[in-house]
Symmetry: C2
């Protein structure tokens, strides 16, 4: 209980909470009491409840009134809707990034640099690092779209998708595809084809979704 150095916990509590939820060993669909969670994180109920409110606002957990916290069960349908929605938003911000680059409001250098880094990592073959670089790519798109609204919503989706990502991180080997598909997006942007870039981004998400679905089905996860 004596968590020394108790500066602002609420911000980090949200990320700690989301990490905790994302752990595959958590039994999904089960209810947990606030006191239990508070004990787990070593804080009192007050900051915990603030984190819970935040988490429930973005759909990470569910809270009926006067009921305990429920970790939403993982399901293929849920994963599909998350990814399908992400597809639209990634398409939108990719389009907007492309437009901004075409208009000279943003330099393409950042994307080129990320692309080179990805290619370099692909030859090395470190899957973990490569996947991290892949996330950097999408983060860069969010930050340079000029659309904070869509970027914020996308980040919510990424947090929720993280739970599924955890399940298949070890299994997935789409790294080669990822590099290629990111490359296609950048190519379209470079050519000034914003609509094409958006299309490529959407296909990229759709491909990832299909890969996830296949992996999860193959291992009979849900």
């Amino acid at each position: 209980m004596l968590d020394k150095g108790p500066k602002d916990q609420s911000v980090s509590l949200v990320s700690r909470l989301s990490s905790w939820i994302a752990q595959p060993e958590q039994v999904h669909g089960v209810s947990i009491t606030e006191n239990e969670l508070a004990a787990i994180f070593g804080v009192s109920r007050t900051p915990l409840r603030e984190a819970l409110n935040f988490a429930s606002a973005i759909g990470l957990i569910r809270r009926q009134r006067s009921r305990s916290i429920e970790i939403p069960p993982l399901s293929g349908a849920d994963m599909f809707q998350l990814s399908r929605t992400r597809e639209e938003l990634e398409g939108l911000i990719t389009f907007q990034v492309s437009e901004r680059i075409a208009a000279g409001e943003v330099s393409i250098d950042g994307l080129e640099k990320l692309n080179q880094r990805m290619s370099a990592l692909a030859t090395i073959g470190d899957t973990g690092v490569l996947l991290g670089a892949g996330l950097d790519f999408h983060e860069y798109m969010r930050e340079n779209s000029g659309n904070e609204v869509a970027a914020g919503l996308l980040q919510q989706l990424m947090l929720r998708l993280e739970r599924y990502r955890q399940c298949i991180r070890a299994l997935d080997d789409r790294s080669g595809h990822i590099v290629h598909e990111h490359g296609q997006i950048i190519d379209a942007i470079r050519a000034g084809d914003s609509a094409g870039a958006a299309r490529a981004a959407r296909e990229h998400v759709a491909n990832a979704r299909e890969s996830y679905r296949a992996q999860l089905a193959k291992h009979g996860l849900f």
Copy 2:
């Protein structure tokens, strides 16, 4: 999510807070202290902070760490991004509603009924009621899309757009267009043209956005 519980304040606090923020007389971009807000709503800081966390999670307010609450300023750019993002999500769920109707998973009766009601109201000419019915239409789409994810994100956007809606409610007379555009969406769904329905939905949002932009510009609001 409406005010119902006599005791549970935290849920209703969120809606009360969003209504309060949406009031045009609020000076946007100004900072407010938690104690002031707590006094305004007649509650202690604890439930207020929970509502604030919820509101900041969905972008209704901004809270830097250890700083007072900031009501994000209204701006044309913000309105554009909200509406532009909404356009994508409305397109998506309209597509999904259409697909579910085509597959027989959902009856089209609900939409037909809403359409008839809208037409009837249009002849009467009560703008306020008609706009409410328009919102019902979109709510129906969200609830019958089978995509809780996109529906939840859309609801966040609608809450944030409410602030802009408040500014021009009295000015707007797009009622006729709304009825017509909703009709086009329904027609496409009835014809089994999901892609067409999605396109119509997106155009509907884009038209509303342009109308908003023009109205706000005409009155020099921001």
